[in-house]
Symmetry: D2
Subunit: 425 residues, 4 copies
């Protein structure tokens, strides 16, 4: 059998209608073949699916913004970065010369003025060449491949970088950075001219969606909190003036670039990229937007979509007789998060006082987050305080650390049967 | 054992520091006891946890906005509503007199001008009293309780509703609605004066997070797509000027009101509400914001947080000998969504050509979303086309409709054993 | 002989090219005959010249703004009015919903929001009908004729006055006035529907240009300082977004209305009006603008035009022998203002010490402003202090009050000859 | 006698109250002695009056803007300059980064972004040094003295010229000029660092007020139309955000600079300058504003002030008997402009048909503008056409060109008596 996913990607691309115009304000960009079309998906274990011209390289342009923001937050810490650059949607166009009137900060790192200020924060004391190399290396870590610069596009863009120079001098004038604005714009333009293909972008997006770990290389690029911060900013500011439309219709944290690329990153699930050079009025790839709308609809990937009803977290529960008296045995299944663990606690709360002990079977639990572990341990601690021995069946170590919070531990076993429990109520 | 969740809520409330001032622009609002403090959580099955003054009633104010928007979208359809009201963050204050210069629409339904326009869309041909009653009934369905109006606050607010009247006339002047603006503001003010407590708000929030079904009454209030639309708009526009800060720090779709309430709704998981009347500069409850920051951090509820690594969706796989030859048996576990099902497809793809058949065991699967069902059925269809019989063990009907897409069905069984498979590779 | 001025007016009108569209947002306005065309000039003594449809009546619309502002300043005093309404150009369109962010005042009385606020200041405690009647009477005094309302246009405009109601409620919400905004807009709409013809408007404009005195009726309507204030505001804010263009190209304080009228007022010289209903994009009469450009160019009426070089203020000067010794006799001519009087003082300063006395002959002086009178008297006082007797020939009382500032007076005479001076140096 | 004007200037300066702060954003500016205080008036014949530290030199800063604008309009023509820079008040602060959204032009040449764009228009193909020297020479012609640069202030300002560089790059990005923005800002900063004293500024202002002719050197610096254009723009845009206040209260076209200077120019009358370094919130000299308010009030110099009533332009009129029959003799006086000449035409119109001829005596006319000359000649031409001989007494050539428009001329005489007229009606 051949997996249908690549065919699905081809079908999605075929279903898009082209329109709009290739970005022309950078002369070299206007020379791109406007009919190139590609899509790529990267799964959390690094598996890649591609369709179309997935190895056609193009300049990353604004899609570099979230990744350089990630580097800045990783290196300086969030607090330092927030002193310089806000996180609010601006309601302005991407190249607007606006600073927050109260804080004098750029509104967010996804508009040009904020991205330029972000660029300046990375390795502030380095030379321009060093900073560019540092960023190139950083974005290469996100991509899992050594990225290269397109020096033609970079030169072409530098020739007409007047608007960006205006923005850089504006930030400089309010002390947003200390370096020479010309070097910052030179470096920023290099950053924008990194060559990527749809495959690279899908891996980069999945690295953000994967809590900062490159899913192919299995190496951490930024901390989990940094990846979450970047995805949050992409959620409210990623698609320029159309962010609200995007979040209602597509619902995937995303970023687009005038080179024609769009990335989307759904936490824990998928990194996606589409490439098609013609842009709509807002500056987003026309076919890229359509492809993502299809992804969101077909794959149920909208961030605000209510998940399907889970099977009850309690698979089975019953009283078994043990040598010491009746033991309440509860078999759990599926992922344990706050909302499912809360139900487990309710079951523990309802256990009759004359029960001797309580046994939890986690064999079929698929994942346990931190709050759930703490809630469960607290529940067991309380039961033990009330005199009930607690038993724990967790052969796959869904919860490796079973400290009940008071230094005591539940009695462990390989299976309920091993606990010597017999009979089912 | 007593569940620790109520104690946790008390601890969260105790940990907040008050500050700011009670809203005073509506005289009657200034008379509220500023020291009231409450929190409530509603789970997806309707279970409620509360702390503090959870039965103190206060006026809903702006928290009515997402719910009336939900009614409008439900009744008119999203397309009609989008013609009148946008979904973009405005970058302006909540009572700004701004319309989109191109479309003449209010930017979004969460700022006053958009909420007034939304109010007018509900039952457009009704009288003011009828529309108010209709909205009262609609929000009561969200709350699962017959809500009442605070006519004192309403009268007090109507006396100084000049700003809202200005906004209403502005919308009227561009044809945003056809009714008398005075009636619209009168109705809107009534809408804002609905009396709720923290408990009500938690249920209302959970109804949005629960795909539109009231979790207590188990009755659908709005369609799933409507609930998703409302949560999306709350994500980008819910917390006024501080939406970007909120989405990075808290990450829960939310809405606040000058009455001192804040709601948060995390799809599929929890509806939360906090009430404390003193407001910060932006108009959000000071203690409410702190409580939500704590919720987000403690409960891991940030929308952009990567979920913990799931246990592999394939619990076990192996070749069993059957009467007809070797059968590949795959036991699945946990939730099936695009990203996990994609892995199942990979396993199916890797099955050796000389395998006779394939058996899938869904006994331990906790949920299956639509795309996963279709992906799985397509994979099985292809295997059958290649000549492999396919077997299906799904005793709990995780996938009730097993049509392979071509009118054929897999062979079903209660268990792998029942299929007559023996031996494990 | 027939004066060529009426022919000139006809020639100016004939030379204009029509274009644009009649205002259509008020249905009744759209019914006006768009080909009507009129011009009128009013001289400082009330003499009128007209051309075209000078007795066609139309609604005054925004041209009422400066006159009602004049009434408000006259009645409340400038300081009170400035507390409520600014005098700065707004850089916004005429119906913009903007208040100064610091003062919460409308920017100026020439944009709608400021004009509505101004309307409310006139007779604040009166009923709507009383205020309308008061304004009607006030503008009638400017026109020198009892103006009437066009109730059809007024009703038509009231039906679609939503934008103005929005502005009125906005001003009301910040305390800009205390009355019911609906009554204010009702009254304002009545104010705008006063029927005038080009002749009326020329007289009204000349009343402002004539220091507040109606030149036909010879009756004061407002104080000189009030008229100056109104003309000043017209200078910087009168022509909406095109005020800068207007002041450079035309240079006459002006105001236009959507009814198709434009007035211009040049202090001390002329009041002008043109009427042609088709409007340009900014809302100014297309032919009206052209006619005023022609007026400005032909008549040299630009406010910033340097006046032609005057003949020297000192017509003749010389030493004459008198009984007591040589007397310096100076004959003045033309208007005495600061710049010409300064030259007289220089001549007085240069008088040799051995001169016995000084005689000033004002027979040919055309006017003397206040500062010139004081300068001249101060010069004479100083001469007398130095021991020089001073003589004054002023048979036409160019300076009626000849107190030298210290209670003394110059010796007066009908002519230099009468002073007994003989011979010319 | 000593003229009281210098004492008056001292009295005005003594009457001002200091306040505010010296501009500190340019370090070198902060070192100025904040207590320096000077005033100067320049009359239309170049006579200067000064008070206080009138020979203390300071950097011209923004006061250079109108003069460089004058140079640009003189050199390129108004149309070319208007393509690049508008003339509308901006409603923004002086250093706002705003361009007109439709035309992409800076709003006007008095805000920084417009002044920078203006600087670039002067000698566009020259080197930076050449352009600076050209501007230095041009402003020296306005001042009638070779001005020098303060290179310390210039260097100090260049170090922190980030904001201006931002503005320059913004204009460059929309094609407002073609040169390197760094050179333009370098040149602009040099332009701003020209050293002037109050005396210089008064002469420069008077040159604008004197139709472009330096009143001391008696040499034309720019055309009359250019001077009028500059004064017009100063009228609507000269005092930043406070232009409306200034035009109502002071009413003199003006420009201020952060160096502490303010100039005012009243066409045909006076150029004024005040210097006091401490600035108010808007950036205008605190004492300078007060001094100008006093000037305006004391000297009656408000642009919108109605002039005092002139003595009638017709001094005497009557019928004299001549050899050929009765001749209507009219003696005129004072200045002839449109409004006074219109009255003369009325008198000519009223002349009885049986009058033989008409004689005009212009001996006492102080000035005649172009429109008046043409009106008068047209009136005489018509009289002649009707058969009336016309006589002209104009011994001082108030109207040198007496062509009646049809190639004929009036009969000239030295006096009415010489015409052989006898007797007075």
């Amino acid at each position: 059998m051949k997996t249908p996913i690549p065919e699905y990607l081809v079908e999605v691309l075929d279903g898009t209608q082209d329109g709009g115009e290739v970005a022309s304000y950078i002369p070299e960009l206007a020379r791109v073949n406007p009919d190139r079309l590609a899509a790529a998906l990267c799964m959390s274990d690094g598996r890649l699916y591609t369709a179309g011209d997935a190895d056609t390289r193009f300049t990353i342009q604004s899609i570099s913004k979230p990744f350089v923001y990630a580097l800045a937050v990783q290196e300086l810490g969030l607090d330092e970065v927030l002193k310089r650059i806000g996180v609010e949607p601006s309601g302005e166009t991407f190249n607007s010369a606006s600073l927050d009137p109260h804080t004098q900060r750029p509104d967010n790192p996804m508009v040009n003025i904020g991205a330029i200020a972000t660029h300046a924060l990375v390795r502030p004391d380095a030379t321009v060449a060093e900073r560019v190399e540092h960023i190139r290396a950083g974005l290469s870590a996100f991509a899992g491949r050594e990225l290269e610069l397109d020096l033609n596009v970079c030169s072409s863009e530098l020739e007409t970088a007047f608007r960006n120079l205006s923005l850089a001098y504006l930030v400089r004038s309010v002390g947003g950075f200390e370096q020479d604005p010309r070097g910052i714009v030179e470096g920023y333009t290099h950053q924008c001219s990194l060559l990527v293909d749809a495959r690279d972008l899908a891996v980069m997006a999945m690295t953000l969606a994967n809590a900062g770990i490159n899913p192919v290389a299995k190496e951490r690029v930024v901390d989990e909190a940094v990846a979450q911060q970047v995805l949050s900013v992409m959620t409210t500011c990623g698609m320029y003036d159309a962010t609200g439309d995007w979040m209602t219709q597509v619902g995937i944290p995303a970023k687009s670039g005038v080179g024609g690329g769009i990335i989307g990153a759904l936490p824990g699930q998928v990194g996606a990229a589409v490439f098609s050079p013609r842009l709509d009025d807002v500056g987003n790839s026309v076919r890229g937007v359509q492809a993502f709308e299809r992804f969101s609809k077909d794959m149920g990937m909208h961030l605000l979509k209510a998940p399907p009803l889970s099977r009850d977290v309690v698979r089975r529960a019953g009283v078994r007789e043990s040598n010491h008296g009746p033991v309440h045995a509860i078999e759990l299944q599926g992922p344990l998060r706050f909302s499912s663990t809360e139900r487990v606690l309710r079951r523990l709360q309802d256990i009759p006082e004359d029960t001797h002990g309580v046994a939890l079977d986690l064999t079929r639990v698929s994942s346990v987050d931190d709050v759930s572990r703490r809630m469960l341990m607290e529940g067991l601690r309380r039961l033990r305080l009330e005199g009930h021995p607690v038993y724990f069946v967790d052969p796959k170590s869904a919860i490796p650390d079973r400290d009940l919070g008071d230094g005591s531990y539940p009695t462990e076993a390989e299976s309920l049967d091993e606990l010597g429990l017999t009979g089912l109520a």
